[in-house]
Amino acid sequence: GAGVSQSPRYKVAKRGQDVALRCDPISGHVSLFWYQQALGQGPEFLTYFQNEAQLDKSGLPSDRFFAERPEGSVSTLKIQRTQQEDSAVYLCASSVRLAGEYEQYFGPGTRLTVT
């Protein structure tokens, strides 16, 4: 079956531009996570959705970052007024049940480069 997909795979933005990153989770998965992964580091938690509800956004670095999952399936991570420090790979993951006891399945990521 289809896995988690993300688009675009690569994005180059000029500093100050807004970007939108899309995640299509595995069909029927309740939980959806966004992570930021810097080069040579492990993924860092950004935010968590249970269906359409955003239950934890404590990892979002600033109020320039915004995520939504309005119908409980596709999710979008938006970054406003991008800065160079936002350059990273953004990973989306979904899980079949509620967060905590189940493995996550990851998409290929979107590599964002801010110039």
């Binding site: 992570y35 492990g42 990973l91 993951a93 967060a99 905590g100």
Partner: protein
């Protein structure tokens, strides 16, 4: 502070040379410990979930074990195709977060 630490940072093995990777954690109320494999330019690929101390799981040349403070990923007679970064992550009570370690970069030489 809730933390996950992996060691070594990098490991080079000859094909067939068995070894172990370590993941130590300092969280209260562990709910699950997860091992992933990540190839360059790809998202992490799920390998194992461990829930309680003493638990073990195996898949091909990989075996994961769990104690109250750490987990080991044992690689028996590795092959070059086992070369990747191995990540561990934990979930714990009171939060929806999963905390990842920084990974061990494994290179297996033919």
């Amino acid at each position: 502070e809730d933390q996950v630490t992996q060691s070594p940072e990098a490991l080079r093995l000859q094909e067939g040379e068995s070894s172990s990777l370590n993941c130590s954690y300092t969280v209260s109320g562990l709910r699950g410990l997860f091992w992933y494999r990540q190839d360059p330019g790809k998202g992490p690929e799920f390998l194992f979930t461990l829930y309680s101390a003493g638990e073990e799981k195996e898949k091909e040349r990989l075996k994961a074990t769990l104690t109250k403070k750490e987990s080991f990923l044992h690689i028996t007679a590795p092959k070059p195709e086992d070369s990747a970064t191995y990540l561990c992550a934990v979930s714990y009570s009171g939060t929806y977060k999963y905390i990842f370690g920084t990974g061990t970069r494994l290179k297996v030489l033919a």
